[in-house]
């Protein structure tokens, strides 16, 4: 309890609030901005959960590069086109979706916080965040570097290939049609 508790709960509340704003805001530029804020809050949460590497990469990629891409795409569109119009039928049409959302959220939260936590774990882990994890940051960082570059190097290679394919894909989609030489 105390300040830490308040900060963490506040971060979670902000995370969910920004996610909702990113979904609900009519103006796409604002929606994208709040997506960026959500990613930033998520990065802070990662940092608190002793994952500074992930925090930095999440900040750079999802709160940085991806948001820049979104804004670049939006800037290529006419300003009037991007805004949905807030009419009544839109709100009514969203009621079933909203109800569905609440039902799914309640079921998932219920099951994950009760029966999921209660399962006996195979490797004898107890899945509760303790109040005191010895934050041996130095060795942790080395561990992550080792696990990325040595233990899971095959995954990293596949990821590099996936990014190559994504680059090829973007190149295909924006290739210029060659003029027919008559």
């Amino acid at each position: 309890m105390g300040l830490e508790f308040v900060v963490e709960v506040a971060l979670i509340v902000f995370l969910i609030m920004f996610a909702l704003l990113a979904v609900e805001l009519k103006k796409l530029a604002y929606a994208v901005a709040s997506l960026g804020l959500m990613s930033t809050v998520l990065s802070i949460i990662f940092y608190i959960l002793y994952a500074p590497y992930v925090a930095v990469i999440n900040l750079l990629v999802y709160a940085g590069a991806v948001i820049v891409l979104f804004l670049a795409v939006l800037s290529l569109m006419k300003p009037g086109e991007e805004e949905g119009k807030g009419k009544m039928y839109d709100i009514i049409a969203e009621i079933p979706g909203g109800v569905l959302f609440i039902i799914i959220a309640v079921i998932l939260v219920q099951i994950l916080t009760t029966s999921y936590i209660g399962i006996q774990f195979a490797y004898g882990k107890t899945l509760n965040l303790p109040s005191l994890i010895p934050p041996q940051m130095q060795s942790m960082l080395q561990n992550v570097a080792e696990s990325t570059w040595r233990v899971r190097v095959i995954d990293v290679l596949i990821q590099a290939m996936a990014l190559f394919v994504a680059g090829l894909g973007v190149a295909v989609l924006f290739r210029r049609e060659r003029r027919e030489k008559e």
Binding site: L108, M140, Q159, L163, G169, L173
Partner: protein, 102 residues
């Protein structure tokens, strides 16, 4: 530190927000935002579940790092497709397109 329950609940709520976004929003950019929220929910889950009393599991960190990279590739491709769709229709509204209704 607050308990794992909070983080699991947060990721479950994030997941359902993403699902809700994909199910109800009819704007191409909003759909991509929905996909990204879904991915973030899974990442939060990985990190929260790997922070235990027994210690920190660096593997889950690696999973999330790799997945962030791949997810960025998917989103970049989705955005370039959005631009192409926009060039054809001059709108981002799915309801004005021919086949994208579902």
């Amino acid at each position: 530190m607050i308990g794992l329950n909070w983080y699991l609940a947060a990721s479950a709520i994030l997941y359902s927000i993403g699902l809700y976004c994909l199910a109800t929003k009819r704007n191409l950019i909003k759909m991509i935002i929905g996909v990204e929220i879904l991915l973030n929910a899974a990442h939060l889950n990985f990190i929260a579940l790997s922070t235990t009393t027994a210690g920190l599991d660096p593997l889950a960190r690696t999973y999330v790092i790799v997945s962030i990279g791949v997810g960025a590739g998917v989103i970049a491709l989705a955005l370039s497709l959005t631009l192409l769709v926009y060039r054809h229709y001059r709108t981002l509204d799915v309801r004005k397109m021919r086949r994208l209704k579902w």
